[in-house]
């Protein structure tokens, strides 16, 4: 994926948050998960109604900016909130280049990790930062990048100040031979989610006790259904 290649080139910046000003310095970087052919801004609007106990400034909306591809609604990007920034800086202080921070929004942080490092990062998050369970595991097929992205959403039940935070870790692997290390020894709660990702997308999790069919019928003889080349009837 082009954004990951750019991250590794860009060794000075671990915080890659898209913004208009930033783009002027380094227009190559796109940190969204869209197909890399198009360059779009990252939408940072939330409909939280002033509930934050974090002092985040009100979001502003500007319509249309010169020199940008035409998208219907464009936003000016606010400063990332201080609390999440603290967490993100702690993570990048510990791991440096291994972890790229994709975005920091109020109550949502997203990291990108390479597959060999994911168990180490997850163990750090569980032991030191207090993210004690994984809420869900989602796999997405990107045929244009020839990759499959698997994203883990982590949450915390034990720490009060992390109550509404969701930290997402994303890894990417090839489509043809999709293998990823499993996080079941770090977070037991991913057991059934990883099994479902295996059967729906064909990603083999190394170390998972049962990479088997789970929800689909026993005689399923087709390609994994969530791949993009699997078309449903008549469409």
């Amino acid at each position: 994926m082009s954004s990951e290649a750019n991250h590794s080139n860009n060794s000075n910046n671990n915080f890659v948050i898209i913004s208009n000003e930033f783009n002027k310095n380094n227009p190559e970087i796109t940190t969204t998960l869209a197909p890399p052919n198009s360059r779009h801004d990252h939408p940072l609007v939330s409909t939280f109604s002033s509930s934050s106990r974090l002092a985040s400034p009100p979001l502003t909306k500007t319509v249309g900016s010169p020199g940008s591809p035409s998208t219907p609604l464009r936003r000016k990007e606010p400063e990332p909130p201080a609390f999440e920034k603290g967490i993100a800086s702690e993570i990048s202080a510990n791991f440096g280049q291994m972890v790229q921070i994709i975005f920091i929004k109020p109550l949502r942080i997203k990291l990108a990790v390479e597959p060999p490092n994911i168990v180490k990062v997850a163990t750090f998050l569980r032991d030191n930062l207090g993210y004690d369970h994984a809420e869900s595991v989602a796999g997405t097929d990107y045929p244009k990048d020839d990759q499959i992205e698997v994203i883990y959403h982590l949450g915390s039940y034990s720490r009060e100040d992390l109550a509404g935070q969701v930290l997402s870790i994303a890894t990417r692997t090839n489509r043809d031979d999709a293998r990823l290390p499993t996080l079941i020894n770090v977070y037991k709660s991913v057991e059934y989610h990883e099994r479902e990702t295996f059967e729906m997308l064909g990603v083999y999790f190394e170390g998972h006790p049962r990479n088997e069919r789970f929800l689909l019928p026993e005689d399923w003889a087709d390609i994994p259904p969530l791949r993009k080349e699997f078309r449903i009837k008549g469409r």
Binding site: I151, E191, L215
Partner: protein, 386 residues
């Protein structure tokens, strides 16, 4: 003589051998299958040693309809009717979370009155769902009065929802941008009357069911899920709150107008099946307080939905929003690529997460405790399969 002794020893050895061989097939494999009064549309295979369960293996997927794949072929608004079918009687909550995520992606802002109506419909739906769950729990335990009373009482709530939305269970009421229509005349008074009647009924439920000595004997001390295990297994909703973790999405990450409502998170520390059956009851009582405040604070007039363009779309990006539904945190992870149809929708449902507690709790329990443990996990099979 030696010959006889030899023969006795040999036969003894053979006898021991015979017993040893049959120990291996002492376990009986039982399929608590889709056709079962005590399992719903779900199957799990248990291995029994006499009366005790030694191994359990859930086998979901009997209602897997491919929701996530179907969302990629319809645009954001067309997805609402089929996304609300996984939990047909809690349909406002499962589309609430979807609407919140789509609004974050496309930047639509919901008017204030619409937010209040959404929250009111969500609380009413929570009552409807919990009453159905309680009815089935009653009939699993053989308490048929507890089947009839909640089924009858939820008809009154369904009447309210029918007046509000037009349908009994599948409302298609929440859309990205607000709600479809405004409340009818006299709705607020009807609601308040229903709530005051209902609070008296809740006291009767407590007397007949929760203070029933047989129900208590069957559920207390059965299926203990400690706090550490609950956190480690990542369970959610009333199962988590019954194990002593006061976590509720409406308090942790307030969405819409919940930051203006004053309510307490109900939790218990005993962590057995009785606690898991009692916490939804406490939630229902708390939900009545929330409904009263919502009806009070709702603005008198205003728009109920934002004006949408023909095919709403947003810039590429992703959103992950959660809502507290009857079964726990219901999260939607939507990736959009700039077109009116979503690129990927992942639904993270409470039932699928709570399913992990089922093998953990059933191992070591008696077969007679199976319905008590299984249904107390607040598991709705259609939602877990999506």
């Amino acid at each position: 003589m030696a010959d006889l002794e030899d023969r006795i020893n040999e036969s003894q050895k053979m006898g021991m051998q015979i017993i040893k061989e049959s120990e291996d097939d002492r376990l009986m494999t039982l399929s608590v299958g889709p056709q079962h009064p005590g399992s719903g549309h779900f199957r799990f295979v248990v291995k029994l040693d006499g009366d005790y369960i030694v191994h359990c293996d859930p086998d979901p997927g009997y209602v897997h309809r491919g929701e996530e794949k179907m969302t990629e072929y319809r645009n954001f608004i067309q997805n609402i009717p089929h996304l609300e079918r996984p939990v047909i009687h809690d349909s406002t909550n499962i589309t609430y979370s979807y609407s919140l995520a789509v609004e974050e992606l496309t930047g639509i802002e919901v008017p204030r009155r619409g937010q209040f109506i959404r929250a009111i419909a969500s609380e009413l739906n929570r009552q409807v769902y919990t009453l159905y769950w309680l009815a089935i729990y009653g009939i699993f335990l053989g308490h048929s009065t507890m089947f009839m009373w909640p089924t009858g009482d939820r008809e009154l709530f369904i009447d309210l929802l029918e007046a509000l939305t037009g349908a009994r269970v599948t409302h298609a009421f929440n859309i990205p941008g607000g709600v479809r229509n405004d409340v009818p005349n006299g709705f607020k008074d009807r609601c308040l009357r229903q709530i005051s009647y209902y609070e008296k009924r809740l006291k009767e439920y407590e007397d007949i069911f929760y203070n029933n000595p047989l129900v208590r004997q069957r559920t207390e001390g059965v299926g203990i899920l400690t706090k550490e295990d609950a956190i480690r297994l990542g369970v959610t909703g009333s199962v988590l709150r019954a194990s002593g973790v006061p976590y509720d999405i409406r308090k942790a990450e307030p969405y819409d107008v919940y930051n203006e409502i004053d309510f307490k998170v109900q939790y218990m520390k005993t962590a057995d099946s009785f606690a898991r059956a009692y916490v939804p009851f406490l939630d229902m009582r708390e939900s009545c307080h929330i409904l009263r405040q919502l009806l009070d604070k709702m603005p008198e007039a205003g728009e109920v939905r934002a004006k949408l363009q023909a095919n709403p779309r947003g810039p590429p990006g992703e959103a992950y929003r959660r809502v507290e539904s009857g079964r726990g945190a219901l999260g939607y992870y939507i990736i959009s690529d700039g077109t009116p149809k979503p690129y990927r929708v992942k639904i993270s449902v409470g039932s699928f997460r709570n399913m992990l507690a089922l093998p953990h709790l059933l191992v070591g329990a008696k077969m007679g405790d199976m319905p008590v443990i299984y249904w107390a996990l607040n598991y709705w099979p259609v939602e877990a399969d999506r």
